[in-house]
């Protein structure tokens, strides 16, 4: 043959290779990981620990921290002879409301996705426009919706008045409706998000299975329930995760739309902790940190679930 060897290795007298060369495969991943790990540790991991630490102190953010043990938690959760912190209670229940109602984005997104999953001219543009709300900042969404909800002149009020409905104080002024009003505003972009997840999910549905089901006589809702939805499970899972995260993180909307009011009825934990820590009458950092820690534990429940699912998939994949 006429092709001559091109490999340095063909030389039997191998030069002693450098330490890096010899351990290249073992070292490289760590070198590649280093910057990201560094950043992540400094700005995420360590601060989580610090928050735990701060939550055992009384601290106004300016002077020295004073160790108070679990006093913050006792006050927050009403341990011992205290009453549970009223604001915390309200925030907690509001958070639950957010959690439950925010999940409506999932079926709503699915519904719109099904509606749009057609191939007619211009459908791509329609899909994009339906997705639009997700791209817009929550601050803008919040503003838009608070005008939408304005008493008397807001479009919402105008429409409900046609039906003879009058919400006292306007949607956002009435403590019975304000939270729901904000959630509805949040559902708008979130539904768009779920919609796009489902649209991609629907794309991945095995057409042969749909055909098989069609031959099996499954139609409409039956087909959806028995054949399509099970296949959309990954999309549903992700939609679930992002929705939960979104619900627990809800801050921007509340801050813009009601600033927690009327009389604190729209507070959620994340907002409350911001209020305690950094707002006008706040700067009780220790207490704020304690709220954050409680929120963290609620979230941990979901994080664990998510990681566990991922772990199972990873094991299965290997």
């Amino acid at each position: 043959m006429s092709v001559s060897p091109a490999m340095p290795a063909a030389d039997p007298t191998l030069p002693q290779r450098g330490w890096y060369k010899r351990n290249e495969i073992a070292i490289t991943p760590w070198l590649f990981l280093l910057p990201a790990m560094l950043f992540f540790a400094v700005y995420v991991i360590i601060p989580i620990g610090q928050s735990f630490w701060i939550s055992f102190h009384a601290w106004d953010g300016l002077g020295e921290k004073t160790w108070v043990g679990t006093a913050n938690y006792e006050r927050l959760l009403g341990l011992g002879d205290q009453r549970m912190d009223r604001k915390f209670e309200v925030s907690f229940w509001n958070n639950l409301r957010w959690l439950v109602l925010y999940l409506l984005a999932i079926p709503a997104g699915l519904f719109i996705a099904l509606f749009l999953n057609q191939t007619v001219t211009g459908i791509r543009l329609y899909k994009s426009l339906f997705f639009f709300p997700f791209v817009i900042s929550q601050v803008v969404v919040g503003l838009v919706f608070s005008w939408f909800y304005l008493p008397n002149v807001g479009l919402f009020d105008v429409i409900t008045n046609w039906f003879g409905l009058d919400i006292r104080g306007g949607v956002l002024g009435n403590p019975n409706t304000a939270t729901y009003g904000i959630i509805a505003a949040g559902l708008w972009p979130q539904t768009a998000y779920c919609m796009i997840l489902y649209l991609t999910g629907l794309n991945a549905v095995d057409p042969e299975q749909v055909e098989a089901a069609r031959l099996d006589g499954a139609k409409g809702p039956k087909m959806l329930w028995y054949v399509i939805l099970p296949q959309l499970k990954p999309a549903t899972f992700i939609a679930f995760v992002v929705t939960i995260i979104g619900a627990l993180r809800s801050f921007d909307l509340i801050s813009v739309m009601t600033n927690g009011g009327p009389f604190g009825s729209t507070r959620v934990l994340s907002f409350y902790m911001f209020e305690e820590s950094l707002s006008e009458f706040g700067f009780r950092m220790g207490y704020g940190a304690a709220i954050a820690v409680v929120l963290f534990f609620i979230m941990l429940f979901f994080i664990t679930y998510f990681l566990w699912t991922m772990y199972r998939d990873e094991k299965g994949a290997r």
């Binding site: 290795a9 950043f39 989580i48 701060i54 426009l129 005008w147 929120l295 963290f296 990873e314």
Partner: protein, 282 residues
């Protein structure tokens, strides 16, 4: 395909569908259309109570002119750009590398580190607020764009790494083995083999992060103040207090603030949608 393609339905169903689409869209976008309408109305319409009617005069140029020339809006927009673009570059670069390490190599702790990234990403970010603010203050980065950028890079790295790692995992592993057999150094494999293949993921992620960061409000409030460093989301609230109850100007301002990610979205639509699903729905 589910539901049944409309083409296979009766003609009437097709027409109904085609007609219903724009109606549904209008209802869906009603709040936005309202803002757009507000933004071209004259002030007088609001005092006379003409909120929802036809504008009594067309004031788009006036209103938007005010936004651009009589407020800090342009400055905020510039800030947003100066925060968003470096963050996108930084987060994507870091996560590419981390994703490569986690996706290609098998080593002890691989999965653990990966999970740390994911978990950190899903943490309620309020828990970071106080310590991160302190850290930023101590680094003398409070109220600077750099302070915001550094934090955003770090926090987004969690999400981006999840995304990148899954993407790299899905690349055919023999490509890397083939390069190894050919004696290509590991870092060169990253640059010459893996990176070029990640182009779609890079584009998708870049667009996604752009929107995330552009729309961030919370951290803008926590880590910056004033038009020196604050991005447009925070700026819009200042704008609002400056023109409180001037709905026409607020609307115009909101629209201006929302525009860049919207433009980005339309330009890179394909990548964007891929981005939302790629990393997540495997």
């Amino acid at each position: 395909m589910f539901p049944t393609p409309i083409q296979k339905r009766p003609r009437t169903a097709q027409i109904t569908y085609q007609a219903f689409l724009p109606v549904a869209l209008i209802v869906w976008l009603l709040p936005l259309l309202a803002v757009a309408l507000f933004s071209i109305k004259p002030d007088a319409d609001f005092t006379t109570g003409n909120y929802w009617g036809w504008p009594s005069s067309f004031e788009a140029f006036n209103n938007y002119g005010k936004v651009f020339f009589e407020s800090n809006m342009p400055r905020y927009l510039l800030n947003s750009l100066l925060i968003t673009i470096p963050t996108v570059i930084g987060a994507v670069a870091l996560s590419c590398m981390a994703g490569f390490a986690l996706g290609v190599y098998r080593f002890k702790g691989n999965l653990f580190i990966f999970f740390i990234f994911i978990a950190g990403n899903f943490v309620p970010f309020q828990i970071l607020m106080v310590p991160v603010r302190d850290l930023t203050v101590n680094l003398n980065l409070y109220d600077t764009k750099l302070g915001l950028v550094l934090f955003h890079i770090a926090f987004q790295t969690g999400f981006c790494t999840l995304f990148m790692r899954n993407f790299i995992r899905a690349l055919p592993f023999p490509l890397i083995e083939a390069a190894r057999v050919e004696g290509v150094a590991e870092w060169r494999i990253f640059f010459y083999v893996v990176l070029p293949l990640m182009k779609p993921a890079l584009a998708a992620l870049a667009v996604l992060i752009f929107t995330f960061i552009w729309n961030d409000y919370f951290w803008a409030v926590v880590l910056t103040q004033g038009p020196g460093a604050q991005p447009v989301t925070a700026g819009i609230t200042e704008f609002n207090s400056q023109f409180r109850a001037a709905y026409h100007l607020m609307s115009a301002g909101s629209i201006v603030a929302a525009l860049p990610p919207v433009i980005m979205f339309f330009l890179m639509q394909k990548h964007f949608i891929a981005g939302l699903t790629l990393g997540a729905v495997k």
